[in-house]
């Protein structure tokens, strides 16, 4: 099995897995810039709950999003293990840096693309368009996310605009 991976690099991808409310999610590491601990997030007034605020990342001001609320679940409780995954998302042909709050980061895993099953049309209680697919790793299901959809700046900005009005 392992040999097969090494022969064809296109057949597998690396994913960063993390926990969100005891569920395991994965996101392609090609969009992950770094992982930092949750600290020094400045709240922005009048923002909907899923916008945690902004963060100073070595001189760049990066918005921080609570993924759990974005998935219509309750807010992430900040603990020692809470992390911010800094992601680079393509938006209007520009790379935009954005932070996502997760309960804890687990590991980087290799997943054979053939082993990824399509997203269940219902049952995950997350909008289907956010999900790239589901993979069975060990004894656990990992929900693989589409970063550019989950953190679509355009869509989030539209939500914020509605709330502001």
């Amino acid at each position: 099995m392992d040999e097969q991976f090494n022969k064809d690099p296109l057949s597998h991808q690396h994913f960063l897995t993390f926990l969100l409310r005891d569920e395991c999610f994965g996101i392609s590491i090609s969009s992950v810039k770094e992982i930092i601990e949750y600290d020094n997030v400045t709240p922005i007034p009048l923002m909907p709950d899923f916008v945690k605020g902004v963060l100073n990342l070595r001189g760049d001001v990066v918005p921080v999003i609570d993924l759990s609320i974005r998935f219509n679940k309750s807010a992430t409780e900040i603990s020692k293990r809470t992390c911010i995954v800094i992601l680079e998302i393509l938006f209007e042909e520009q790379i935009v840096t954005i932070g996502a709050v997760v309960d804890s980061v687990s590991e980087v895993i290799e997943i054979n693309m053939d082993n990824i099953e399509p997203a269940p049309t219902f049952g995950a209680r997350i909008r289907a368009q956010f999900i790239l697919g589901v993979a069975n790793v060990g004894e656990q299901f990992v929900i693989l996310l589409r970063g550019e959809r989950v953190l679509s700046l355009d869509e989030m900005a539209a939500i914020i605009e509605k709330v502001a009005d």
Partner: protein, 699 residues
């Protein structure tokens, strides 16, 4: 020499000269200036364009500008008066030249021969009639001088895209060519390359031009060819006649026209290279640039001069990108400085504090200096409007006088650029819809001449630009009806006067019954408003029926770094622009419980905004709160905050797209502690609070 680069330089230069020409013509027309200096400058512009175009062999431009130049020359010598008709013609010529230049950039568009020929015909009317005038050139010829030129063309001249013939043609426009001798250096037939140039030309030129002017003709072949220009006897006389100023020998010779700047430079560098103590005069003689007698005269002259330095302004063209990089770096420096400041306060070492405060002072100066580099006068965009006012009022048959105030007010260069479109649009609107026709004005008992006033001034840390007309004013009923028709508001919606004016900024709104080709061409006032908001500015309208309309545009001074005042509410750091902060007062306990949001500040009513409430920040109010009194324009307001932290320099970072709907916050900045501070946009904040309060009445 890179031809495309030289060509773009030419286009650049020509455009700026054309802009000068236009400005001077308009100033003369408006009666602001009739001085000979202006006419001189206009003449020089036409002359230089002709000269440079000749170098590149743009014969059609030379042919056209030659006629323009001839007429201007007559104006300059007082043979022709620069009256309204001639100015009009000159402006048309200026337009045509500009279109010829544009055509060089965009070769797909054809040359407009019809206009050109028509204009030349008109120009000839000024040139031909008087026989006295025709005699003038011969009279001039008698006292011209004979320059000796020896041009040894390099082999690469043709390959560089240069044509000796076009240079000769051009020289003919400077004077008369005499005794032209062609001395070709043919190589052995086997080595002959048809693409190489083997020419050497020796000739005399009878001309009153300076050596620089003549040398300019050969500017683009100088690198590959050997050009020797020997001045005639007469230059010596002009050298002796030069006013007594303290100059170096080289400069003296250049001023007299005996040596060109380039020859001087090469002589100076060869002097340096050989590291000998040979005098500059001798080097120049050896190079064949000048005769030894000439140097002697110049040396005599130099001895006679006293030590006085002429003061003149010098400008330097710098790439905008370099300036932006510098300002970015200064921004980083300011942020880093704020970080150190926090540490210095913690360490509390007196000596350290002292030397750091010196550093901070210098940093502030560097910041102001760097930002000042980008500042330009608003007048630049005003002068473009002048032309529009003139053309549009002619087209509409209205008589409109434009007055300009405060054209020397400075504003960030990038803002001036982005401002020119919105300004143009507002001005066009004012001319087209605002100011009535002559008949209507007379009927209303107003003077027939309409007034349009453009003014700029500094006001509480921002720049205010006003466009005021004395026209019909905005028609509230018509705007309302139109807005209802276009579904912008509902028919039963009650709106204050000011809010109705604002409707004209709504997308898809245009009150003009007929779309003229001036305004109402799709780009609506909504674009104007958006452009201004992109610059963190506001636009306000006030209008009185039959007395006129005033558009007020308020803009921040700069887009990069501001002096700020740091406060905090419920742990959130907020930065107010320091120049809007008037004073800080303690928020009395007795007023805190009160429901009303205004207080008595030394006998005046001061409305205030509870930022904690407005921004829905967590936590109960502190025991001790403060009020920061801010002022912008004529408005004054108080902001209730928890803590005052003092001044800081804030490098403005624009808000993320995500927060585009956020009102009252203009950007972020990184504080010394590494935290992010939010920069308040006070006018927007007050407006936001007002809207919220009005909404609460409706519900």
């Amino acid at each position: 020499m890179d031809m495309t680069q030289a060509r773009s330089l030419f286009i650049d230069e020509a455009n700026s000269l054309l802009a000068d020409m236009e400005r001077f013509l308009l100033e003369i027309e408006a009666g602001d200036a009739t001085s000979a200096q202006h006419i001189d400058a206009i003449f020089r512009a036409a002359h230089t364009i002709k000269g440079s175009a000749g170098l590149f062999g743009f014969d059609h431009i030379v042919a056209f500008t030659h006629n323009v130049e001839s007429v201007l020359d007559k104006v300059r010598s007082g043979q022709l008066a620069l009256d309204g008709d001639l100015i009009n013609l000159m402006l048309q010529c200026q337009d045509h030249t500009a279109s010829l230049i544009r055509q060089l950039e965009d070769e797909s568009s054809g040359i407009d021969l019809v206009t050109g020929t028509a204009l030349i015909k008109q120009l000839h009317l000024y040139l031909d009639p008087a026989p006295v005038v025709a005699a003038a050139p011969t009279a001039v010829l008698t006292d011209t001088e004979h320059w000796q030129l020896d041009v040894h063309y390099g082999e690469d001249v043709f390959r560089d895209g240069m044509d000796p013939l076009s240079q000769l043609h051009y020289l003919q426009s400077l004077g008369e060519l005499q005794q032209v001798r062609l001395l070709p250096h043919w190589p052995a037939p086997a080595a002959f390359d048809p693409e190489s140039c083997y020419l050497q030309l020796k000739f005399e030129l009878a001309s009153t031009a300076s050596k620089q002017q003549i040398a300019d003709v050969f500017e683009f072949v100088q690198d590959s060819s050997k050009v020797q220009i020997s001045p005639p006897q007469q230059v010596k006389a002009s050298l002796a006649a030069l006013p007594t100023v303290d100059e170096k020998l080289g400069t003296l010779l250049v001023n007299a026209g005996a040596v060109t700047e380039r020859e001087l430079q090469s002589a100076l560098s060869s002097q340096k290279e050989h590291d000998n103590n040979q005098a500059l005069g001798q080097v120049l003689v050896d190079q064949g640039a000048v005769s030894s007698e000439m140097v002697a005269v110049a040396l005599d002259k130099q001895k006679a001069t006293e030590h006085k330095r002429p003061a003149d302004f010098q400008f330097l063209k710098v790439e905008a990108r370099k300036l932006d990089e510098l300002i970015n770096l200064v921004g980083e420096l300011v942020t880093a400085g704020a970080g150190i400041d926090v540490l210095v306060q913690e360490i509390a070492n007196e000596k350290l504090k002292e030397s750091f405060s010196v550093l901070t002072g210098l940093l502030e100066q560097i910041r102001d200096g760097a930002l000042g580099l980008r500042m330009v006068q608003v007048g630049e965009s005003f002068s473009r409007l002048r032309r529009i006012v003139r053309d549009v009022s002619k087209e509409l048959g209205k008589d409109i006088e434009l007055t300009v105030e405060g054209a020397d007010t400075e504003l960030d260069k990038s803002m001036v650029e982005k401002l020119s479109d919105p300004l143009m649009h507002i001005v066009r609107n004012a001319l087209d819809h605002g100011i009535e026709s002559k008949e209507l004005r007379l009927y209303k008992g107003k003077p027939a001449q309409g007034q349009l006033k453009l003014s700029a001034c500094h006001e509480a840390g921002s720049v205010v630009i006003e466009i005021a007309d004395d026209g019909a004013g905005l028609n509230i009923e018509r705007i309302r009806a139109k807005a209802i028709e276009k579904n912008i508001i509902s028919a039963d919606q009650e709106l204050a006067e000011e809010d109705i004016y604002k409707l004209i900024f709504a997308p898809g709104f245009s009150t003009a019954a007929a779309v003229t080709n001036l305004s109402g061409r799709g780009v609506g006032m909504d674009v104007v408003k958006r452009n201004i908001e992109e610059l963190r500015g506001q636009i306000q309208i006030s209008s009185v029926p039959d007395q006129g309309t005033v558009f007020r545009i308020r803009l921040p001074l700069t887009l990069a770094i501001i002096d700020g005042f740091l406060v905090s509410v419920a742990g959130t750091h907020l930065v107010l622009p320091l120049n809007m902060v008037q004073e800080c007062i303690e928020f009395q306990m007795s007023q805190q419980d009160n429901e009303r949001n205004y207080l008595d500040l030394r006998g005046e009513v001061l409305p205030f905004i509870r930022l904690r409430q407005l921004f829905e920040l967590a936590g109960p109010p502190q025991n001790r709160e403060n009020i920061v009194v801010v002022q912008y324009g004529k408005h004054r307001a108080g902001l209730v905050v928890d803590h005052l932290h003092g001044e800081l320099q804030a490098v403005i970072k624009p808000l993320n797209t995500l927060f585009r709907s956020l009102r009252g916050i203009g950007g972020y900045t990184i504080l010394g502690s590494g935290n992010v501070g939010l920069i308040l946009d006070i006018p927007q904040l007050v407006q936001f609070a007002t809207t919220l309060e009005n909404q609460s009445f409706v519900h």
